[in-house]
Point group: C2
Chain length 584, copies 2
C-alpha cells in the first residue's frame, strides 16, 4: 500500500527543539520521527518506528545467523533475582524501583542477566543442552542523572541483549566470537563505522570484554588506538611498566623548604630555582586523597600516588574502585587525618612511612604502575611548606597495591608493543562481555557434565543499543537541509513528490507510486494538494528518504525527475523508465 502524505501522521517542524544539543536530536524531532514525553523519554512517530523496525530486522537476521533464539522478558521484574546478584544495591539511583499494591519490591530492568540465568536454570540441566544463546529486543530503563542528547542518552531505550550459556571456557570463547562476528556484520549492514576496543570487564564481574565504539566527536567515551592495531577504551588501557632500578648508590631522602608550593607547577618551579637539575612535573610524585563510599555505606579515605604530570582520570578511577563510589576527599576527611598536610602530602615523613605498608595513618595507598622500585621522586614531606627529594620507591615507601587511574596521553605506548597510541572520542553502540560464572554462581545455574558432575555454567552477555544506533546513523547522515538515510534503514525506499496544480502530474505520480510499490519499494507519496513545491522539496530533504522522484511540469511529456538526496544529483528520465532506473 502506498503511503500518502496527505493522510499520513507527519508534521515537520520549522523550529529546532529548544533542548536539542546534537544534530540527531534536532533533526529527528523536526522531521517528525520522535517526540519528547519526559526527560530522556520519547514517543516514536510513524517515520521513526519504521526506521527502528528496519534496524531491528537486520539485528534479528544476524542473530538468527549466529544461532541465537529470540525471547522477550518484561521490563517490570521482581527484586529477588537482583538481590541475589547484588545489583539491587549496586545500581544505586540509576535503577527505577517501585512497589506493587501489596508493597512488594519491583524494578524496571536496566539489563537482564539475572532473569535469563534463572530461565535457563529453570529449563536446562545437562551439558548436552548447551551451548545456548538467547536474546531479546526490548525497552530498558535507566534513571540517568542527566538524560541528554535525545536518544543518545535516554532513560528509556531499546536494546538487543543476548546471553550465552556454556559448560566450558572454550565454549564461551566460541559463543562470544559468534556474537562478536554478528555485531560486525550488523554494523557493516547499517553502514556504521566502528572500532572494537578492549573494555574493562570488572564492573560486570567478567573476564573479558570489548566495546564497539562508533568514532564521533560527540561520543562520551575516550578510547586509544595504536598504528599497530591496539584499541582500548581508556578504562581498559594498561600502562607499560618500566623495569625496576637497583637501590645501590641511590641518594638518601632530603627534606627541603618549599614555601608556597602547594601545586605541582609551583613545586617544579621552586625545584628548578633552588636545586641543580632540570626538573619537570614527571619528576614529582603527586598524591591524591580520595573518599570511597562502599556498598554498605561505609566511607573510606584512600590515597593514590602518581607521576606529577598525570591526573587521576574520572572514568578510570571509577572503574578501579567499583562498585564503591569515588569522590575527592573533603575538608572533613582531612581533619580526621591530621598526619596528611594538604598541599604537602607524601607517603613518607621524617619519622617513617605515612602511607603504604607500616603507614602511620592506616590509609590504604595505591601507586601508579610507573612508580616502580628504585624510582626517585620529589614529593610532599607532610610538613607545611616542606617537600622531600630523592625519595625512592620500594626503599623509602611502598604501596598497598598498584592501580590504573592515571590519565592516558597521546603518545603513551600501547601495552602490546604496537607503538604509541592516539586518543579519540567514541560512542558505545555495542558491548560484548565474557561474564564467566558470576551470575551462574550467584543464582545457582549448574548443569551435569559428561561425568555426571555438576558444573557451574559460564556466560556471556552481548548488548546493542537499537535506539542509540538509530541516533548515531542520523548523526552520521545529515546535512544542513535534513536527514539522509542509508537505503538499508530508510523509512521508505522512494519518496514521490507531485508538484503543481496539473491533475496529470498527480495522476502520473499516483500510478508511478503504485508501480514502484508493486516492484517491492516502500513508497511515500507526497500527494498534498495546494502545498507549494518549495515546501514539498524542503520536507523531502528534511525527512531524508534517499531516493526522491519529482513529478511536475514534465508530466505532460511523460517525464519525471530522479533526485538523489545524498549527492543532490537530479536527472530527468521518461516516467516509463523510472522504476527500472530505481531498481538498478
Amino acid at each position: 500500500m502506498v503511503t500518502r502524505l496527505s493522510h499520513y501522521f507527519l508534521r515537520t517542524l520549522r523550529e529546532d527543539p529548544a533542548d536539542a544539543e546534537v544534530p540527531s536530536h534536532r533533526l529527528l524531532v523536526r522531521a517528525g520521527y520522535i517526540r519528547r514525553q519526559a526527560p530522556g523519554v520519547f514517543a516514536w512517530l510513524p517515520l521513526g518506528l519504521r526506521v527502528k523496525a528496519k534496524i531491528e530486522a537486520i539485528i534479528r537476521d544476524e542473530m538468527a545467523n549466529a544461532g541465537a533464539y529470540e525471547v522477550h522478558f518484561p521490563a517490570l521484574l521482581p527484586r529477588e533475582p537482583y538481590e541475589l546478584s547484588g545489583r539491587w544495591e549496586e545500581y544505586g539511583d540509576g535503577m527505577f524501583r517501585l512497589k506493587d499494591r501489596k508493597g512488594a519490591d519491583y524494578l524496571l530492568a536496566p539489563t537482564h542477566e539475572e532473569v535469563f540465568t534463572l530461565l535457563v536454570k529453570d529449563l536446562y540441566n545437562s551439558y548436552k543442552d548447551l551451548p545456548l544463546t538467547i536474546y531479546q529486543i526490548q525497552d530498558k530503563y535507566r534513571d540517568e542523572a542527566r538524560p541528554r542528547a535525545g536518544l543518545l542518552r535516554g532513560r528509556e531505550f531499546t536494546m538487543k541483549d543476548a546471553y550465552s550459556f556454556d559448560a566450558s571456557d572454550a565454549g564461551l570463547d566460541a559463543s562470544y566470537q559468534a556474537q562478536r562476528d554478528a555485531y560486525e556484520r550488523i554494523f557493516r549492514r547499517l553502514g556504521l563505522e566502528y572500532v572494537i576496543v578492549a573494555a574493562d570487564a570488572g564492573a560486570m564481574g567478567g573476564s573479558k570484554s570489548e566495546e564497539f565504539l562508533h568514532p564521533t566527536d560527540i561520543g562520551e567515551d575516550t578510547f586509544v588506538r595504536s598504528e599497530g592495531g591496539y584499541a582500548a577504551n581508556v578504562e581498559a588501557f594498561t600502562t607499560v611498566v618500566p623495569e625496576p632500578i637497583a637501590f645501590d648508590g641511590l641518594a638518601e631522602p632530603v627534606i627541603f623548604d618549599s614555601p608556597n608550593t602547594p601545586t605541582i607547577q609551583t613545586l617544579v618551579d621552586h625545584a628548578n630555582a633552588t636545586m641543580d637539575g632540570d626538573y619537570t612535573a614527571a619528576d614529582t610524585l603527586k598524591n591524591v586523597v580520595l573518599a570511597l563510599t562502599h556498598l554498605d555505606g561505609t566511607r573510606e579515605v584512600v590515597a593514590v600516588g602518581l607521576p606529577g604530570d598525570r591526573d587521576v582520570d574520572d572514568k578510570r578511577v571509577e572503574v578501579a574502585f567499583a562498585p564503591a563510589a569515588v569522590e575527592p576527599a573533603t575538608a572533613e576527611d582531612f581533619e580526621r587525618n591530621p598526619l596528611l598536610v594538604k598541599g604537602y602530602i607524601g607517603p613518607w615523613s621524617e619519622t617513617g612511612p605515612i602511607l603504604g605498608e607500616e603507614s602511620a595513618t592506616g590509609i590504604r595507598y595505591f601507586l601508579d604502575p610507573r612508580v616502580v622500585d628504585g624510582t626517585s621522586w620529589i614529593t610532599g614531606a607532610n610538613i607545611d611548606e616542606k617537600h622531600v627529594h630523592s625519595l625512592v620507591a620500594g626503599r623509602d615507601f611502598t604501596a598497598d597495591g598498584f592501580i590504573e587511574v592515571a590519565t592516558v596521553r597521546e603518545g603513551d605506548p600501547a601495552p602490546d608493543g604496537s607503538g604509541p597510541v592516539r586518543l579519540a572520542r567514541g560512542m558505545e553502540i555495542g558491548h560484548v562481555f565474557q561474564l564467566g560464572r558470576k551470575y551462574a554462581e550467584a543464582l545457582g545455574l549448574k548443569v551435569l557434565d559428561e561425568n555426571g558432575k555438576l558444573v557451574t555454567v559460564t556466560m556471556g552477555s552481548y548488548g546493542i543499543g537499537v535506539t542509540r544506533i538509530l541516533a548515531n546513523i542520523a548523526e552520521l547522515n545529515n546535512d544542513d537541509k535534513g536527514l539522509i538515510w542509508p537505503a538499508s534503514v530508510a523509512p521508505f525506499d522512494v519518496h514521490v513528490v507531485a508538484t503543481g496544480r496539473d491533475a496529470a502530474a498527480f495522476e502520473l505520480a499516483a500510478s508511478l507510486s503504485a508501480d514502484l510499490e508493486a516492484s517491492g519499494f516502500d513508497v511515500l507519496y507526497d500527494d498534498r494538494p495546494k502545498v507549494s513545491p518549495g515546501v514539498k522539496f524542503g520536507d523531502a530533504e528534511l525527512v531524508g528518504v534517499p531516493r526522491i522522484v519529482i513529478v511536475g511540469r514534465g508530466a505532460a511529456d511523460g517525464e519525471v525527475e530522479l533526485w538523489d538526496r545524498r549527492t543532490g544529483d537530479r536527472q530527468v528520465v521518461p516516467a516509463a523508465e523510472a522504476v527500472a532506473r530505481l531498481t538498478a
Copy 2:
C-alpha cells in the same frame, strides 16, 4: 532457515504448573510458550513470541486497511497528563506509580488516552488535519488485585490501542465504524468467535461503547442477548420500565408485626402465613445500604431500593457509582444512622419519609426503575420486627434518582423489544469507545474549523488485548494432548518429525524440511537424535503445530506420513508429493 529442535530453546514440561487454573495457562507453560516471572508477569519463550508476532502482524495489517498509522509510546510516563484528566487519582491501586531520582512522579501506563491527545495537540491545529487514527502495539501495566489465569488476567500485557481524532460527531461515527469493522476482520482472521455487546461508556466519560466478547465459560464478563439481536454486557443492560399506576383507590400503608423476619424469604413466608394473598419476593421492596468512597476520600452512605427478588449486581453497582468505590455499609455506618433499623429498613416510617426526598436521614436513596409510581410494596417499617404493607411508590416515598444496579435475569425483556434475554459468560477481547470530548477538553485539544473558529476535537479509543487473544485462542484450540493452533497464528506451519535410528530417515527429513522452507513454510524440524518416537510425537501434540510430517520407517521406500493435529488423520504419501499435499 529451518529451525532444528536439537538446538532450539524449547523444553516441554511433563507436569502442569501448580498455579494454573485454566487450560491456556497450563498448556502455554507446559509446551514452552511462556514462563512466569512474578504474579501476572510472564516471559515469552521463542514459540510464544512467534505466535504473538503472527497475531500482531494480522492486527497491523487490518489497522493499515483501516487507515490507521502506527506509533509507539513509552510505558513510563510522567504524572502531569494523567493529573489533568483526573485518572492519576481515579486509577487508585490499579496503577503502578513510581518516582525518579529527582522525586518526580511517574506511572506505568495502563492506557494512553492522555498522551495521544497531547501528541495530536502538539502537532495538529486544523480540521483539515483530521480525521486521524493512530495506534500502537505496546506493553501495558495494571496492578491487578488478583492476577490469575495466566495471560488472561496479567499485570503486564500487550495491547493494540488506537485513538481517533475528529472535528465532528459524524466524523467520530465514521472513525468508530472503521475500527469496529477492522476488529471484525481481525477476529475472523484469528478464528475467534465474538459477540459485540453494548457496554457502559460512563467510566471512560464517553457516549457510546461496545465490547467484543469471546463467549467462554471462563469469561469474567456476563452478557445478555435476545433472539432478536440485542446484546449487551450486564453493566450496560437497561431495564424495561413499567407504566406508572394511578394512586386512586390504592390502600393506605399498614404497619404490621413481623417478628424474626430480617430476610426477604422470612418476610415472604410470614406475609403468606398471616395475610390474605399469595406473596412472592417480587412483592417486597429490598433496601440495601451501601457506602461510597469518593475520589476526595469522603465516605457517603446511600441506600438502594429494589424488588426483593433481585440483588444488587456487583459490576452494575460499580459502574453506576463510578468513579466512587462501593462497599456494603459497615456496622459503624449503621451506628451513625440510628433511624435505619437493620433487617427492617424501609423508605418510610410512621412519622414520614426516612429515605428519599424530605427524608429524615438525609441519606440519598436510589430506586430500581421497576419501582414506578403507584406500585405497592411490603417493606421495612424502620422499627425492629415490624414491616409495612401497601406502601405506594410516589405517594408514600420517593427517590433521589433511579439506578440500574439490580441483577439481570434470564428471561428479562430486552430494552429494544427484541424479546427475552439469555445470559452468557464472555471474555473481553476488544473494546471500542466513543470518548467524545472528555480528554480533548481536559487537555485542551482544539482545532480551527471551516470558519476559523476553535472547536474541541472529539475522540474514540479502541483496544485489543493481544496477549489475552493469544490465550483465548489457546483456550479454544486444545485437547487432552496439548495445543492445536489455527494455521493463521501457529508458531510454525509444519512440524517435521524424524524417527528411528536410520540415517536415511534423518536425511530425507532434512531435505524435505529444506524443500518446505523453500516453498514458503516455516518449518520446525525435530532432528533430535536418541529421542524416542513416543516422546517426539508427544511433544508435537503438546506444541500444537497443526500439520505434522513423520519421517520414519517408510523413509527407505520414499514414504512419509502426513498427520493432521486437529483431526488426528494420518496419511502415508510419497515424500516427493508431501510439499504439494501440504500446499494444497
